[in-house]
């Protein structure tokens, strides 16, 4: 059969796009496995200092570029939830 190599979608590979994924496996050689909602993929974790299983990292083009601070994320989510509650509760809407 004709030789086939990582041919992928054209027009994708958005340059700074990255998504949070959870590390499920940390191996030697800067390799690891990460998952997000039904997607599991190998990621390069050599840019992360002391990566741990269970941590969330930001994955860009197959590389984890930084870890996600869950406490900061939860705090921000709480802030937004609070704002949302205020708009949907008439007595608090000024």
């Amino acid at each position: 059969m004709a030789q086939r190599i990582g041919v992928s979608a054209e027009g994708h590979g958005k340059m700074c796009l990255a998504v949070p994924m959870e590390l499920t496996d940390v191996r030697t050689g800067g390799r690891g496995t990460a998952r997000a909602d039904g997607i599991v993929r190998d990621v390069d974790i050599s840019l992360i200092d002391d990566p741990r299983t269970g941590e969330f990292v930001i994955v860009h083009a197959g590389f984890a570029i930084e870890r996600l601070d869950r406490a900061e994320a939860e705090a921000r989510i709480a802030l937004f939830e609070d704002m949302a509650r205020r708009v949907s509760t008439p007595e608090f809407a000024s």
Binding site: S8, E10, S46
Partner: protein
């Protein structure tokens, strides 16, 4: 998706939008019509895709900045990449395929037989080089700090034992571009909405020179719609208070010092140089290239190719678009001779390009007509 969905909540969006409206009202009283530059192409795309402009108060304008890597890459780089593809198997981010070089694009070169492969991850190039030791393999390494960090990791992986792998680099840095913008008298920007993932690498401290007295508010925001809306809200609040400081609204990922491990890896393999930006010109110390001792990994020295400036398309105003001097519809070629199917300039090619974003997700005016 965890840590994604929560930042797209419609009710919270409405709440932030109503705060935006009252802040804009305050600014109106002081006669300020803020012009905010979103520096990063991914912000440009996210703003367009989420219809953010549609919910902003009318006096707030968002201007796209120079942070679209494809857009600021010189046509001569494409020419060099096409040349490389005659001697090696070339891997590239898909966005690059249709960027016009001086004459051809990588897509037309590929149709004529050049060996060009789009990939999601640069690792695909490494894997190919490993599996095909007899085949020269080149990765087109273009991008800002977000991509530079993986490219440095790639260099580290390839340094030992992959003699057939090299990179054609056009790597650019965000802070020098901001410095060039703020010193250009033709540019009028009241505040910067700073990139999310570039900042993850360089850290929020990197924006200090652009804030402070006489400077501008610099607010770092994530790429989700709520992040963006809230970032704009923080900018308006600073402007209303007459403040200009660095504010990190993406603290779940960005640290003041950035990713130090990545920075160390980058400086081990790369050194700054005066890079040419398409449509803008040469900006001092605004690019990174492989250090001399890694010449074997540098496709330019390996194949004796030189990246010349090349010939930019006539009539294209990408430079002015990238500096925020011109909105895409102000270009005489916009949506006429220049469309995503038939792009004249790079800003119409990449989905992160301002012209492509304007074209694809035009702002919808209240009457349902394009603004």
């Amino acid at each position: 998706m965890k840590y994604v969905d929560a930042f797209r909540d419609p009710a919270a969006s409405r709440a932030v939008v109503s705060e935006l409206a009252s802040l804009a009202g305050k600014l109106r009283e002081s006669g300020i019509r803020p012009a905010i530059m979103e520096v990063c192409g991914t912000h440009t795309m996210a703003i367009a895709r989420n219809g953010i402009r549609d919910v902003l108060p009318p006096e707030v304008s968002l201007i796209s900045g120079p942070g679209c890597p494809v857009c600021v890459t010189e046509p001569g780089y494409i020419d060099a990449a096409i040349l490389a593809a005659t001697r090696a198997t070339v891997f590239t981010f898909g966005d690059m395929l249709n960027v016009p070089g001086s004459e051809d694009s990588l897509a037309t070169a590929r149709a004529a037989g050049a060996d060009v492969h789009p990939c999601y991850s640069p690792s695909a190039a490494l894997d190919f080089a490993r599996a095909n030791p007899a085949r020269e393999t080149v990765f087109l390494a273009i991008g800002f700090e977000t991509t530079i960090a993986p490219v440095a990791a790639l260099a580290a992986a390839a340094e030992n034992g992959l003699p057939n792998f090299s990179m054609l680099t056009a790597l650019k840095l965000v802070p020098p571009a901001l410095a060039a913008l703020v010193s250009d008298p033709a540019v009028h920007i009241d505040a910067f909405l700073c990139p999310a993932h570039v900042s993850a690498i360089i850290g929020s401290d990197a924006y200090a020179p652009f804030a402070g007295p006489g400077g501008r508010p610099c607010v770092i925001a994530g790429f989700e719609p709520l992040d963006i809306l809230y970032g704009i809200r923080c900018i308006l609040a600073q402007l209303a208070d007459g403040q200009a400081f660095v504010e990190n609204e993406y603290a779940r990922v960005v640290k003041p010092e950035g990713n130090v491990k990545a920075q160390n890896l980058i400086s081990r393999y790369m050194e700054p140089y005066d890079a040419a930006w398409r449509g803008i010109g040469v900006i001092p110390a605004s690019g990174l290239r492989l250090r001399k001792q890694y010449g074997a990994m540098d496709a330019e020295s390996r194949f004796g190719i030189r990246v010349e400036p090349g010939t930019p398309p006539t009539g294209c105003r990408c430079g002015d678009v990238l500096k925020g001097i011109l909105n895409p519809p102000g270009c005489p070629l916009f949506d006429g001779r220049c469309t995503p199917e038939n792009p004249v300039g790079p800003c119409m090619v990449s989905s992160e390009g301002a012209c492509a974003a304007w074209h694809s997700y035009r702002r919808i005016a209240p009457a349902g007509k394009d603004a």
